[in-house]
């Protein structure tokens, strides 16, 4: 199937580009990555390459033409396929365009019932001076209108009708307005009186246009959707507790020493130790190692542990399958490896699905967070937030008080699936496991 080649959009402010040179000619065979044409904005030159294999079936603009961005400039497809639907000004609704090329005035086919157009202008166009003025001011290509005046003369009302049917925004401005919820302002500086992207305003009286709007990455969109869905579709609340971290800190110290001594190859972190402890607790509380799916719950036999990983592209929560089968070193190795894959972007997408894990741990302890309310990765029923270690006063017995490093634990659970008591007991179990962890 033939696909159009668009004049790419280079930046938020570029309305039109000058077509530089056609590297491929009409009829040439092209392969993905072949350079099709060069183009330039007022600031720089670019090259556009083919996004599909095929024949360059047609090109709609000549070298040197000023072409609005996002307008079709060519078509790639199989020999013999029709290109008409992609021709700017043709039937394709997306290909609204105007251009200043000498003989290439293009208008959108209007849909307003009062405006009649003819495909080809016949003879000299009859238009009143007033209508002509208005047409020029409003960017209406009157040559293709059918006048409603005496003897077919195009009169003011014809231009008014055509003008109402035409978009008031350039293609770029339309897209920007849609994406950012903006409207055309008082002034329109574009070709034919159309509002260009920079004419769009937000109507906010406080901050006006003192901001930059950046589009969400797909990643961000997914996260946003997941988070919002989570909070909307579950009954979340969080319990906070802290555990004496002296045991796991001692273990960490021990493993560090062993690593430095070359006795082991895996760097066992606090997080690894906490995860290990949590897996143990989950084995005792199988009702937490579940998915809540409305009228029923999935009780998992194995623990598939989700780990929230912060990456440049956003939060990822990969799952480690059968985590309860792993030794501490094995778990540590897998956690490290999968986090690395997330950061590199080559993680198996199946592992990222919320359904992949049965329980998630989100560790913000490294960042000094003392307490937070993590959001459940539904349909999982709970998530554990691991916080930083802070020295807290503790009764050491015999009236002796000392400062003990305590690690914060924030358990968010879905009250639909679990009751407070169960959750508290589970959290206490984690605390117990951490405080009494032995390998």
């Amino acid at each position: 199937m033939a696909i159009p080649v668009l004049m790419p959009r280079q930046g938020q402010s570029v309305e039109t580009c000058i077509l530089g040179e056609w590297v491929k000619k009409k009829g040439d065979a092209v392969k993905v990555g072949d350079i099709l044409f060069s183009y330039e904005t007022d600031k720089a030159s670019f090259e556009e390459d083919a996004k599909a294999d095929g024949i360059l079936l047609d090109v709609f603009f000549a070298e040197g033409d000023e072409v609005p961005v996002l307008v079709n400039v060519a078509v790639i497809g199989a020999a013999g396929e029709s290109v008409d639907e992609f021709r700017p000004g043709g039937q394709t609704a997306a290909s609204v365009a105007e251009t200043v090329a000498a003989n290439e005035v293009v208008v959108e086919k209007t849909i307003a019932p009062e405006v009649k157009t003819v495909a080809e202008p016949t003879g000299k166009v009859k238009i009143s001076p007033r209508a002509k003025n208005l047409a020029e001011k409003s960017g209406i290509a009157y040559q293709q209108l059918v006048g409603s005046g005496p003897e077919g003369r195009i009169i003011e009302r014809d231009i008014e009708a055509a003008s109402q049917a035409l978009p008031k925004l350039t293609p770029l401005a339309q897209e920007k307005a849609k994406a950012e919820g903006l409207k055309a302002g008082e002034t329109a500086t574009g070709l034919g009186g159309k509002a260009v992207a920079k004419d769009l305003i937000s109507y906010n009286p406080v901050y006006s246009d003192d901001f930059e709007v950046k589009k969400l990455t797909n990643m961000r969109k997914l996260i946003a959707k997941a988070m919002h869905t989570s909070l909307q579709n579950s009954a979340q609340l969080t319990h906070h507790m802290s555990a004496d971290a002296r045991t796991i800190m001692a273990l960490r110290k021990k493993y560090k020493k062993a690593l430095d001594a070359g006795q082991i190859t895996q760097n066992i972190t606090i997080n690894d130790l906490v995860c290990f402890a949590v897996i143990k607790a989950l084995k005792k509380f199988p009702q937490v190692n579940t998915h809540f799916i409305g009228d029923s719950m999935r009780w998992f036999k194995k623990v598939h542990l989700g780990l929230a990983v912060d990456t440049d592209r956003g939060l990822m929560v990969p799952a480690i399958k059968n985590a309860d089968d792993l030794s501490l070193e094995g778990l540590s190795g897998q956690l490290q490896s999968i986090a690395g894959q997330c950061r590199k972007g080559n993680v198996n997408p199946e592992l990222l699905a919320p359904e992949a894990a049965t329980f998630t741990i989100s560790n913000l302890g490294n960042y000094g967070v003392e307490m937070f309310t993590p959001v459940i990765n539904i349909p999982q029923t709970a998530i554990l937030g691991v916080c930083t270690i802070i020295p807290r006063p503790k009764d050491l017995g015999d009236g002796v008080y000392g400062f003990v490093p305590m690690i914060g634990l924030s358990l968010t659970y879905d009250h639909q699936a679990l009751d407070g008591g169960e959750a508290t007991l589970f959290l206490r179990e984690i605390k117990e496991q951490i405080e009494n962890l032995s390998i």
Partner: protein
């Protein structure tokens, strides 16, 4: 040729043969009515006695009413000498024996009044005979038994113009007259009588030649008598076309009136009239109670009669009858005969005498009963009235308000709107009010000025009450600036500019456009034709983009066409269609019963809009305004 010097009473020579024949009568009328000393001498050629306006002037000058009807010190004839310089020729035509039949010009007097104008033939080659004759005639004038006529026999040695080779006369004829030459003969007589010597005469002749030669040299010396610097002052001639003065009265003295204005029956009657056409509920007052268009004109005129002692008015049926359209009803009682009187049916004399009256310093309102009669006073309206202010370098003033009534209902020769004829002539101000408020305000402005104004009225309008000006027509004095159109109804979709009485048909069309087609029409009343301020019209067209221009004149060559062209030029970029003229057909005006097919009406205006400007949804035309029909009619000249 047009040299003049009013302090000496010398008025400019006229380039039209006989052109001053009636003007001179007006000058004598001025002296008489305003009790000025002196006499008026009309130097006129023997051939000009064939000109209609000269005859009309003589008819006017010999009206019986001067002796029969004018009262007190006004009783008696005009102080006017018709001095025929009978030089035997009019251009190449020889009056005696060829182009005239009077044989002796003095016999013309016999046809004019009982006194035969006290006409005498005088030997123009004998200065003493001429002096004697003038002494006799002057006495007659002082006895108020004028006017008088002198047939002063003389001869024209040279041709009429440099191109005249005298091919129509023999060398012997000229030599025979030269043998009798007045200067040579009278010189011999002086020597014979011992009054002068030959040498002295030679000296006088030499001095005279020198004087004339040096005068001519001074006149043609560009350093002493430079031409107008049109490069430096490109508007200099334009500035002389009109005086644009504002003068309450031409002379400061008590006016001759029969009673105080407040005692005037018409004035008292008007006080009881409704000065707005509708009552507070929008219902029209009865015609008899409504202050009408004719009342507006009357109020302005009677006001001026009591302000300006020089003001006189005359025309056909102006006294007693009160004018054919009752505008002057009540004036007869207020004014003595010499300020308001009936003229002979002689339009050339009516206008021509008014020109003479005004040139001498009086204000005057001549009236042409029907616009169709303008042709009867063509030279006066086209060549004399508009020209003398500028031709005199704006020294002479021309405070003449010529009332012209446009007819209807009276067929081909009594229903024509010839406004374009006057508006085309430089030097005339032309107005055509359509409402009582505008009529009074424009008449006040016309009478306050010192420029000639052609004041068109319409017989369709005399009964109209004031429908536009809030509060009705003010009782006091106010002026409406000549040249300012007036928006009678505001609108946004189409402009209808009207001249004269079509205003009311345009309003009717505006109603239909609104009700049937949802279009709001802006109706502008031109009120004046020249001068004319296009700015309000252009502003309207800027808004509406469309304009039709309507008036009762036949459309070809009409002032509507002038306006359409000007608007096209000035508003081209604002126009959504060409300005369209909806005037009368280029026919004779048919009988009253058929007038609907001749004069524009609301339906025509709508048809024209539909056909030429913007097609109206669902409109079915009844009249053919297509381009093809327009071409066809033009081909046929109808």
């Amino acid at each position: 040729m047009h040299a003049f010097f009013t302090p000496f009473g010398v008025y400019p020579n006229n380039a039209i043969v006989g052109g001053s024949g009636d003007i001179a009568v007006g000058a004598a009328l001025y002296k008489k009515v305003n009790r000025k000393d002196g006499i008026v001498v009309a130097n006129i050629g023997d051939a000009s006695m064939a000109c209609g306006p000269v005859w009309e002037g003589l008819t006017f000058a010999t009206m019986d009413q001067f002796n029969e009807l004018w009262e007190g010190d006004m009783k008696g004839g005009l102080p006017l000498i018709i001095n025929i310089m009978n030089n035997q020729y009019g251009m190449g035509g020889q009056t005696c024996g060829e182009t005239a039949g009077y044989t002796i010009a003095a016999r013309i007097g016999a046809g004019l009044n009982e006194d035969q104008l006290h006409a005498e033939r005088v030997d123009g080659y004998n200065p003493l005979a001429v002096i004697d004759a003038y002494k006799r005639k002057r006495k007659i004038l002082e006895e108020k038994r004028g006017p008088v006529l002198l047939d002063v026999l003389t001869y024209r040695y040279s041709g009429h113009s440099p191109s005249d080779a005298s091919s129509y006369r023999s060398k012997e004829e000229v030599e025979a007259w030269e043998a009798q030459d007045s200067i040579a003969w009278f010189g011999r007589e002086l020597v014979k009588a011992g009054v002068a010597t030959e040498e002295q005469l030679v000296g006088v002749k030499g001095d005279t030649i020198n004087l004339m030669e040096s005068s001519m040299k001074l006149a043609i010396d560009l350093t002493i008598s430079p031409r107008m610097d049109m490069a430096k002052y490109p508007n200099l001639i334009g500035e002389m076309i009109f005086g644009n003065e504002s003068v309450d009265r031409m002379e400061d003295r008590a006016p001759d009136v029969n009673h105080p204005m407040a005692e005037n029956a018409r004035v008292q009657q008007l006080a009881k009239k409704e000065r707005f056409a509708f009552d507070e509920n929008g219902k029209a007052h009865s015609k008899i109670k409504t202050y009408a268009y004719r009342d507006g004109i009357f109020e302005a005129i009677i006001d001026r009669f009591y302000k300006d002692p020089t003001l006189i008015a005359y025309g056909e049926e102006n006294r007693d009858w009160g004018g054919a359209f009752a505008v002057y009803r009540g004036l007869t009682e207020a004014l003595p005969y010499h300020r308001l009187f009936n003229s002979p049916i002689a339009e050339a004399a009516i206008v021509g005498t008014a020109i003479g009256y005004a040139m001498c310093g009086g204000r005057v309102i001549p009236e042409i009963m029907y616009c169709d009669f303008l042709g009867r006073c063509g030279d006066q309206v086209f060549n004399q009235l508009p020209k003398w202010q500028a031709m005199s370098g704006n020294v002479i003033k021309m405070p003449v308000v010529l009332r012209v009534s446009v007819g209807s209902k009276y067929g081909a020769q009594h229903s024509q709107d010839w406004t374009a004829l006057t508006a085309q002539i430089p030097g005339l101000k032309v107005v055509f009010p359509a409402t009582p408020y505008d009529a009074k305000g424009l008449m006040n402005a016309a009478l306050q000025g010192t420029d000639p104004v052609i004041f068109f009225e319409s017989q369709r309008l005399y009964d109209m009450g004031e429908m536009f000006h809030k509060g009705g027509v003010p009782e006091g004095y106010y002026e409406i600036a000549i040249g300012e159109p007036d928006i009678k109804r505001e609108g946004k979709d189409v402009t209808i500019l009207t001249i004269g009485a079509t205003l009311y048909r345009a309003l009717e069309a505006a109603d239909i456009l609104q009700e049937k087609y949802g279009m709001s029409a802006e109706v502008i009343d031109a009120r004046s034709l020249s001068p004319f301020n296009y700015e309000p019209v252009l502003a309207s067209v800027k808004k509406t983009g469309r304009i039709i221009i309507s008036g009762d004149a036949s459309s070809r060559g009409s002032f509507m066409k002038e306006m359409a062209q000007t608007i096209s030029e000035l508003a081209f970029d604002d126009l959504d269609a060409p300005p369209v003229v909806v005037g009368s057909r280029n026919w004779i005006t048919p009988a009253y019963e058929l007038e609907d097919s001749f004069f524009p009406c609301a339906e025509w205006m709508i048809d024209a809009i539909h056909e030429k400007i913007v097609p109206l949804k669902g409109h079915v035309v009844k009249n053919n305004f297509t381009s093809a029909e327009q071409i066809r009619r033009n081909k046929l000249g109808v």
